[in-house]
């Protein structure tokens, strides 16, 4: 069931890290250098200016590392970016296929769906005064509509994105939970994903690298970014969407139907079993 493409689904973060250290040759004259799009440029072109993301992501972009011979296949929202590395010059984006050891993260379909939901109906009409740009709307009917009818790039199945990828990491192995005293498996399951939504964005490890020489010399150049309603408004939407889906059997069923292969690929728990407990 799992190794459909003879891929390796890893539950061990260490395996990848080991591979990375084996592969490291720290060369600067890597042939892909010239063709890559700098990360900041990617953000300016696609996210900020809302430029034709559809065709960009059709080309299956990947992050490439300048120092090690590995590539990271883009499979979700911007969150992968924060999950793995901060924005710096070591990683850049390329849409050209290159011969590197590729890896990608297989997310829980629910998590990936709510993270990508911010792209749905993103370019909504403004009113006559031009206000309300970038407003997000969420509701049961809207989610059902997206799950049923939307075939844009952000709705692709992960199993398609991760085709021919050398190393698939199961999201469970990403070490963002450190609690030892979790009560049950069910609790673990829920905490793992919800912690991602809450903690990763709001509290933990979201650091901005400042250019301040004084702070740098004192080792304090990485500062936690504060909550702003303008940058973080999508998180409210993600939390609400999450809430709608786990509280509605219909939406849960729609999600499971749509991403059935992804559920199977990752051996994710069937969400129906816990439905009564959660709701």
């Amino acid at each position: 069931m799992i190794n459909i493409f003879m891929q390796q689904i890893s539950h061990h973060w260490d395996q990848l890290m080991q591979h990375v250290s084996d592969q490291s040759n720290f060369t600067d004259d890597w042939p892909c250098n010239a063709t890559g799009i700098p990360t900041s440029e990617f953000y300016n072109q696609t996210v900020d200016n809302n430029i034709d993301r559809h065709s960009f992501f059709e080309q299956k972009p990947r992050y490439l590392n300048r120092h090690t011979n590995i590539g990271f296949v883009w499979n979700g929202g911007n969150c992968e970016h924060n999950q793995l590395f901060t924005i710096n010059q070591d990683w850049f984006i390329s849409t050209d296929p290159v011969d590197v050891y590729e890896f990608g993260i297989l997310w829980h379909p629910l998590l990936r769906f709510v993270i990508n939901l911010k792209y749905a109906k993103h370019a909504m009409h403004t009113n006559r005064t031009g206000h309300f740009r970038g407003t997000y709307m969420v509701g049961e009917h809207m989610i059902a509509d997206v799950l049923t009818n939307d075939n844009n790039w952000y709705m692709t199945k992960q199993i398609d994105n991760l085709k021919n990828v050398d190393h698939i990491i199961h999201q469970n192995c990403i070490p963002y939970i450190y609690k030892d005293e979790l009560e049950s498996d069910k609790q673990v399951y829920r905490e793992q994903i919800q912690n991602f939504l809450y903690c990763r964005h709001l509290i933990e490890n979201w650091k901005l690298d400042t250019d301040n020489w004084w702070l740098k010399s004192h080792g304090r150049h990485e500062v936690a970014r504060r909550w702003t309603r303008w940058l973080d408004r999508h998180i409210d939407m993600e939390m609400s969407a999450w809430h709608y889906i786990i509280n509605s059997r219909e939406l849960t069923d729609l999600l499971r139907q749509r991403y059935r292969e992804d559920f199977e690929l990752g051996s994710f728990e069937d969400m129906t079993a816990d439905y009564e407990v959660w709701a």
Binding site: T135, M137, G139
Partner: protein, 392 residues
Amino acid sequence: MKFGHNMDNNRPLHRAKTTVDKFALILTGAPRGVSLQAWDHRLPQVYKNTVSSNDSWSQSPHDYWWQEDRDPPEVHVFVCATNFDSMDRYLRGEDPRLAGLDPEPYIDYKDQKKSTLAFDMIDDILHYRDEHGTVTGGKMKLKKEKWEQHHLKAWDWATSVNFVYWDGYQMVDDMYWHFLSQGIETNRLENTTWQNQYLHMLAAYEQHKEFFDSLTEQSVVFRQRYDLSFNPYQSLWRVAQVLQTDTYSNQNNPEEWNWHEQGFRFSPKVLVPNLHIFRGLVSAGDYWNAFDGPGTQLFVQKYLDYLKQDPDHWAFVSQTIDHGTHIKWRVPEHSLPQFCMQHNYTILHLRDQEHLGTRMLSLKDPPILDQWRYEWYDWTPEMVEEIRQKCS
């Protein structure tokens, strides 16, 4: 000089924490945002800070959170709603996202014919009319069971949760005949429009008179619309601080210059956001305000009389500007402060965004909107699709 060295910077706050006897939170208006998880986090969970230190927001408890060893005062929540869905400008197509149905437009708002047809279709969905065309009742009922379940869960920490249901069809009719008997013909409206946010409070008084009669000078009553949310570090103590001790007392020694000793106790108090005076008319934000006990009692008993004084007080927004020679201009923001002026209130002021970190879940550059009409009323996507087919 070690001025302020040993001084507690927040003495007015601590004073308020010893004097307030009870809080009432009155939620009024349309149920925008209520179904969102964000609403739950930014309303009930923030207000919970009033009675406990909320450890879900931060490791270090904030001054405005309850941190005393003794029991906190009572917090009574009044959840007010209109029995039936009613018409508003967004539903009529001005901005479909604020209508709480579909984000995609379903009415060509600029086309007079199509928007008129849409009005008729929506009117048919919402209203019963008699042979004269007068609205006699509503069709689209609030899903009360779901509504109550949702709120009981959200406010489970409160001392009491009271549901208030009301609709204004009779009142619209009464007001029409009231002014007609004085020889003034006013517009006959479909519903009480923005006045709902105040009239719901009057309904709460009618249905819970015992509670409102028990309010004292040391009570704090906070009225707000559903779609207003707060900075997580706030609580009702912030309001109590200003309302009871802060603004007109000596910060360094509140005992010395307490207005209750200066005859201020004879004036009911109201706290409003964004107070301004335009062309001699006092105006303030209408999405929230706070009263002390006497201020509440006076408002709920006299506001209807105030509306009956003058059709301008009742008949909603009217603007006549005749090259500066004759200016008649009223907006919803005038209503409460004008009432308070007339009844000799002490009007206190906080700028909401700067001082309270308020943020709308609708209307003012909203970060997130919900499909609230689908959620709380029996609207279906098929109804919207039918309107879209004919009117867009």
